[in-house]
Symmetry: C2
Subunit: 441 residues, 2 copies
Amino acid sequence: MQEIDLIIAGAKVLLLDARNIHLENGAVAVNADKIVAVDYTEKITKQYKARKTITANDSLIMPGFVNCHTHAAMTCFRGIADDLELMDWLNNYIFPAEAKNVNKELAYWGSLLGAAEMIKSGTTTFCDMYIFEDETAHAAKTAGMRCLAGEVLFDFPSPNFKTIAEGIAYTEMLIEKWKDDPLVNIIIEPHALYTCSEPLLTEIKKLAEDYHLPIGLHLLENAAEKKQLDEKLGKDTVSFLKDIGYLNERLIAFHCVYLSGKDINLFADHGCKVVHNPASNMKLASGVAPVPEMLKAGVTVGLGTDGCASNNNLDMIKEMSTAAKLHKVARLDPTVTDAQTVVRMATIEGAKTLGMEKSVGSLEIGKKADIIVIGLNKPHLTPLYSEYSHLVYAMSGADVDTVIINGKVVMENRQLLTIDEEEAMHKVREIAVKVKQSIQK
Amino acid sequence: MQEIDLIIAGAKVLLLDARNIHLENGAVAVNADKIVAVDYTEKITKQYKARKTITANDSLIMPGFVNCHTHAAMTCFRGIADDLELMDWLNNYIFPAEAKNVNKELAYWGSLLGAAEMIKSGTTTFCDMYIFEDETAHAAKTAGMRCLAGEVLFDFPSPNFKTIAEGIAYTEMLIEKWKDDPLVNIIIEPHALYTCSEPLLTEIKKLAEDYHLPIGLHLLENAAEKKQLDEKLGKDTVSFLKDIGYLNERLIAFHCVYLSGKDINLFADHGCKVVHNPASNMKLASGVAPVPEMLKAGVTVGLGTDGCASNNNLDMIKEMSTAAKLHKVARLDPTVTDAQTVVRMATIEGAKTLGMEKSVGSLEIGKKADIIVIGLNKPHLTPLYSEYSHLVYAMSGADVDTVIINGKVVMENRQLLTIDEEEAMHKVREIAVKVKQSIQK
């Protein structure tokens, strides 16, 4: 018998591999940071002897969720202002709150609290865009979460940099500092086309090419942005992106609510990726992204929660439910974005979106052990005809019991093992007192 | 000091009264089945001595949710078929599954499981429509839940009655049997205008008048129904309802996705009530009900989950989140259906919808003690700027710790005290085996 680190056994297993294999009474064998086997429990326990075994009866084992777009530190602004006109919300609440409060401390503790929330709802990888991203990377490291971290870049000063040159230098520092880290990877993130000049975008492109890194940016999130860009650029936004050499397999575009059929074809032809954030798009009244059309055209679409100012949670199970239902009602067609498609968007398709499909997003031999265990023995999950259906239409983040990232158990039976959640909540509450004062003045 | 049965103390309190009073460190005093005081903890504990005290630090106390439209027993069909065309879904899954499986046993255990799920997500009152409703009433009684139960009536035979006369007689039996019950009330429920002939509707109207009971029915749920009714009735559906004397304060219309502006004004003029079921409307691709217009016109609108075949859960917290966001994106206006409005729809406005506002829906002296306690000391609810915002945009059903109905604690620290949930789940799993076989043939 081969001795290994961990077996999670005795549960239903969704692999989310290319064939959508489903096992009854399956198990996953883990050694160090990797999955070494996925099979029936009987076979796994005959072949392997584990130093730790998690017996997951009445449970579902599956890959952890990949949250493809968030601003984790914005947990500090969760619920500070809702139900307002966009410009009122931004100019009178979010921008002043950020200008007066965002610093390294907020970035670290807000991100750590976000990591706690994400782990507790089954997310194992997140792609983040914010200010002081080195703090977010540290928080992810503390939490034991996998993270694709990007400092937001734009033409004007941020709380972290005074000039574009400083912003670029900070990003280069991040790349060098985290280059060999097993959990933290770096992404280059221009904020959006309405906040970044062409020279900045060109500089960013060179940086991404030099380091072979993905570029993530907000794109065509709402109608006002589309109108503004049409006027500013004098051409279609996606044509502009093509002209400046941005359309390639490493482009990750967040939101894409106002992509046209032509844009979608360009995205498909060039292998560009899209992150869909339906809760944020609904709450901010941005619109409905043409996700069924993107999927039909072969565009890779991942799912993201966006930040806590506009959602107001980081729960990928809630996001799946929203994604599945929004497109049905928007098109008066109940067959679009079916449950299995949406679960794949939240796992393996999300991994593809971030360029991480070789390491995460499904339970397959050789992949990193990013695994979640969900308890099924509950009234709201009874009876069980389809795991995919329950994941999307009946489950809650609180149903996630145990989370393993990179082979390490970071939550067991809902107890976080890497984060002192009381401390994180205490720190964020202290920050929130100042945030509240800052918008009342 | 006055001796009473129960004090719930030390928490934030949302009263959901006319002034939306909010207390920091408040308490609710309960004696027998009634609220005797709502005030600051300090004042309550000086005035009253309780036989039982629930100390609810770091929590929110509020009225229980009122689920204004469901089919509780349909938990047995949760997730049996999703993401299908409406007629495919109905004709090949739901109707055969119902025809072959619905009996008293399914009605009882399905409803009891539904009650378990509802209590565990904070619902204290539900309005139900299904077959063998006496079983649902018994399940509610067992669970200690408040219930408005109605046997579904239509022109064709049901598993419970062969003729209209039998269906009417069954309803009269329910009325007599449950007339003095503290928890169970009866509603008269013609299924819909496309399944009930005018003579049946007239007979139902007489029954409702004789017993002074409300009438609940599905109305204009989707475009196909509207088209069918326009053709069948030869006039506007709501004009038809007016002509047959249905437009009054005791009419409770479920869905109302296709109400016109004229219909809304008629509803407002006659005091008719509407139940909004946004998750079901989205999942079945029915459409978006004109809720902001209804609210503006002064129509009372409650919130409902619909049944587990079309949602697939009975969680009013999920329903609030869906309601708040759907109308924003449908109208590209983030200011509609704000958080406080939606929380009121799920509580006091729901109570008004069911004609139960004198007894439930808010925390006020003299009302029935239907109270929930929600734990707030969690990462996904931190920081806390607004309780209404968290209820709608961040919370989960699993955050509900303790539920009191009619003065009785039915769940404490998430332990159900009235229902053996393992037994209910076991029974429903046995039923589900037969259900699955019946649709595979």
